[in-house]
Amino acid sequence: MTNQSLQKALSYREALNKAMHDAMAASDKVLLFGQGVNDHKGIFGTTSGLADKFGAQRLIEVPLAEEGMTGICIGAALNGAYPINIHIRADFVLLAMNQIINLAAKYKYMFGGLFDIPMMIRLVIGRSWGQGAQHSQSLQSLFAHIPGLTVIMPASSGAIVDSYAHAVQKHRGTVISFEHRLMYDLTFERDHEPEVLGKTPFSQRRVRAGTDVTIVSTSIMSLEARRAADWLADRGISCDVIDLHCVSHIDHDVIMKSVGRTGRLLVADTSWLPYGVSAEICRIVCQNDPGALKAPVVSLGMAPAPCPTAKALEDIYYPNLTTLTDSIATLVRGKNHGIDLPHERSMADVYKRFKGPF
């Protein structure tokens, strides 16, 4: 599947604005709900200009009432609207878990399939420096755990434009999208878009093909995996990098085919490891063919703690390019791999300076 809708290089932020624009243009049923959708900052610029074009009545500035507003979106969706509910930090949606998990995820099933809840919840992972315990969390596995929800983590401008169009125009269920703030200013080139490994834009993607090790990654860790793979390619290690993209619906074949070829698996997620994406990928491999692995799985994610604010700790809280590259090299060649490593301790610093293109 190729990327038809993305015509040129776009930053992640521009892609989000375009996706919101296209959705509103495609159907007047699309309504944007959120704190700040209509202010002069426009959700980091992703809703800017839309009120002028489509009318302020379609960009609804809401009270601080996360649970209530989620229920309101569900009701609107039941009644023909396509609500897009936006939270500038994923952490704030925790106030709305009841409506999402007890209602949105179950409404269709509980009523014998009578209803669809077509809506999207956009959540920003606030990671940058200093965001701390309550403004930086990556909560994808909480939602992906729940039958009835579709959880995506777009890791490129193309992934945003295509997946959001698919969500709004084709998908009939509730989509939870995690956007990563460190990617907002990165530019992605159309030619470099990962290959989509399935039938819809929600499918998994191949960032890079390789033979020595499979790297399954999410969100910004897919970019890190690509950078690590580029580094290692020059040093004789060939990585097969899969961007999971849709963490709730994983095509087992995609994972198993890759692991079958490489015999080695590293999972690089943006969140904690226990009960998370890494655990799920391991489940898939163990259930399908545990013999496919030549070595124990390695998984990288956040340290098992709330996020500390101090830069000195934050830099070791998250994996970085050095630890990722080292882990891959160790998995393939063993502890004494002798491969020189890139020296990069802080991902946040890198992405603040580096703008792409990817």
């Binding site: 202010d39 009270p63 009432a65 701390g132 315990a133 309550q134 500390p308 604010t309 101090a310 830069k311």
Partner: protein
């Protein structure tokens, strides 16, 4: 500049309130000055303009109570603890901070001094303060608890749940609404389906107080009255204190020309700046300016010392990364 009324408080107390106000303001002015150095890697939600609320209320509590602040925590923390050493340590992410540098600006606490924390989730601290009031009623009669929150937090369900529960349970719980009319860039009128929060809250079984003076002495006196009534009646108190945020919602910059700002409002509030107002009152009461300058100079010097100490303090080591995660091994 509005002229302050003559003080009804003792000269010592007037001066002491001023010192805390000035210290709080000066700490934040220092943040504004040194933030660009990039040594404080934490978002900043500045109290500047709103300090009289925290200073007046915390002084009225006078150590006999516990408080919880919102993420706009600087003034409340400084007023409750008077400790800018730990404050700057924390903002610098160093081990001499309130939490070894792990919490940053949004989560300041000092339990012995009755500062039970501040949270980055709007309204989340309100029920926690009620819990503190509940415990105080059981174990330390006469001790109160206060939640500081913005008018935006009153949009949230948990505010109403807590208001209802504390009234029903008759707790020594003080609701302190720092009413700056704004949640980020959005006015109350766009978010709230009623005209007056105070009128709504009056229907609850609590005592309601209002202030729109930006005058630390009025706020102090009002809070004293509220606490005394709360202790005698056993009912919660609700204080709605009108105030004004000078800087951007998050960050250390001015945003006076942002579209949501109103020039008249800006001029009105800056014309009754709480620090300037109290300073003027002290001068009018006969305090010599040179004495006041000396007081201010001492505070400035102490703050510079705290900043220098923070910069010199160690960064937290890797061993602290997982310290305090509940429960490491059950």
């Amino acid at each position: 500049m509005t002229a302050p009324s003559a003080s009804l408080l003792s000269a010592d107390l007037s001066l002491s309130l001023y010192k805390t106000l000035y210290m709080t303001r000066r700490c934040e002015e220092t943040i504004v000055r040194i933030y660009p150095e990039d040594n404080m890697k934490t978002p900043m939600h500045m109290s500047m303009g709103q300090e009289a609320v925290s200073v007046g209320v915390c002084r009225a509590i006078g150590g006999n109570g516990d408080v919880i602040a919102s993420y706009r925590s600087h003034a409340t923390y400084l007023a409750q603890t008077e400790d800018h050493g730990s404050f700057f340590g924390e903002l610098h992410g160093r081990t001499n901070g309130t939490a070894d540098g792990k919490s940053g600006s949004m989560h300041l606490a000092d339990i012995p001094k009755g500062m039970l924390g501040s949270t980055g989730i709007v309204s989340a601290g309100i029920p926690v303060a009620m819990g503190a009031a509940f415990a105080n009623k059981q174990k330390s009669p006469g001790r109160v608890a206060a939640a500081f929150f913005g008018d935006g937090a009153t949009d949230e369900g948990v505010f109403w749940e807590t208001l209802n529960a504390s009234c029903a349970m008759k707790l020594p719980m003080m609701f302190v609404c720092e009413d700056n009319d704004l949640a980020v860039h959005t006015r109350k009128s766009e978010r709230q389906g009623f005209n007056s929060l105070v009128e709504v809250v009056r229907k609850y079984k609590c005592d309601v107080y209002e202030d729109d003076t930006n005058d630390v002495e009025s706020i102090y006196a009002l809070t004293r009255k509220a606490i005394e009534k709360m202790i005698s009646s056993g009912q919660p108190a609700f204080l709605n204190i009108k105030t004004y945020r000078y800087l951007e919602p998050c960050g250390t910059m001015q945003d006076s020309d942002a579209p949501y700002r109103r020039a008249e409002e800006d001029a009105y509030w800056k014309g009754r700046d709480c620090v300037a107002l109290q300073r003027k009152r002290l001068l009018a009461s006969g305090l010599a300016e040179k004495d006041l300058l000396k007081v201010e100079g001492d505070i400035n010097a102490a703050i510079e010392k705290s900043v220098a100490a923070a910069k010199a303090a160690p960064h937290p080591g890797a061993d602290l990364l997982s310290y305090g995660v509940f429960y490491e091994t059950p």
